[in-house]
């Protein structure tokens, strides 16, 4: 990230625009040392790379980077592969992602609903 992008991110993290949820995600990822995005969180997550980077932070070593498509720009199929891999790892961590495939992440299938919220 350039200095300018960092300054933009910083501003956005604390700005009151953007949904509360997106800003919470962004602050969290940023505090993990993953710079998620500059413009639009969900847009920038769909190539799966940020998800995998975050996954690797919360469970160090879980991501086998040789299985990840990292040469940008990624085409749609490579994005789906990455997202599928993220879903596969999520299952390993016992996430409740029943019925979700990488295609759904890339395409943003809204018919599937998930339990959102942190029921700690």
């Amino acid at each position: 990230m350039t200095e300018e992008e960092k300054a933009q991110l910083e501003e956005w993290l604390f700005a009151s625009e953007g949904t509360r949820e997106a800003r919470a995600f962004a602050l969290w990822m940023n505090s993990l040392g993953v710079d998620p995005f500059v413009n639009n969180l969900f847009q920038d997550l769909r190539d799966g790379l940020v998800l995998l980077r975050v996954m690797d932070k919360i469970e160090p070593g879980i991501v086998d980077w040789s299985k990840v498509n990292q040469n940008l720009p990624l085409n749609r199929f490579k994005m789906v592969e990455n997202c599928n891999y993220a879903v596969e790892l999520g299952k390993k961590l016992k996430f409740s992602l029943v019925g979700i495939g990488g295609v759904d992440i890339v395409d943003g299938n809204q018919t599937l609903t998930l339990a959102l919220g942190m029921n700690i």
């Binding site: 604390f14 509360r20 949820e21 800003r23 919470a24 995600f25 602050l27 969290w28 940023n30 505090s31 993990l32 639009n40 969900f42 847009q43 997550l45 769909r46 998800l51 975050v54 996954m55 919360i58 993220a86 879903v87 999520g90 961590l93 996430f95 409740s96 992602l97 979700i100 759904d104 992440i105 395409d107 943003g108 299938n109 809204q110 599937l112 609903t113 998930l114 339990a115 959102l116 919220g117 942190m118 029921n119 700690i120």
Partner: protein, 144 residues
């Protein structure tokens, strides 16, 4: 219209990751060989602040006095001298409270704490979110 902007799936996945992370941090905290309870966390936070001779205390995660962030700033300062008290406001208005909350989060990030909450969660005294903040700070402090 861009469907991806509102993708429930990405949101769901991220939430699950965040939840997993909160739980793994809380599970890793141990007091006397046992996983910490909420009471242990409160006792720890109050003890840290008391050590530096400050008088503010939290009675629980819903304590309305937490709204001003002053307690959190004193806690951060006790973990590592890092708070510039000239910047801290008395927290008499919501605007002042928000300013302190932003400062709290900035410092917590600098200390390497994982951040799960937003400034407005502090100002609104969202108890579960405040629990995550104390948990993250305890994790950083115990690792030191």
């Amino acid at each position: 219209m861009n469907l991806l902007d509102e993708s429930l799936l990405i949101r769901g996945t991220v939430w699950q990751m965040m939840r997993h992370h909160v739980l793994s941090i809380l599970k890793s905290l141990q007091v006397g060989g046992k996983a910490v309870t909420e009471d242990d966390m409160i006792k720890w936070a109050n003890g840290e602040v008391a050590k530096t001779g400050k008088s503010s205390r939290m009675s629980n995660f819903k304590d309305p006095s937490l709204k001003t962030s002053v307690f959190f700033l004193e806690l951060l300062d006790s973990i590592r001298k890092c708070v510039d008290w000239n910047i801290v406001t008395p927290g008499t208005t919501d605007q002042e409270c928000t300013q302190n909350a932003k400062y709290t989060i900035s410092i917590a990030r600098k200390l390497g704490a994982t951040i799960f909450l937003l400034p407005e969660d502090i100002v609104e005294v969202k108890n579960k979110m405040i629990l995550t903040l104390i948990g993250s700070l305890m994790y950083v402090a115990l690792k030191q």
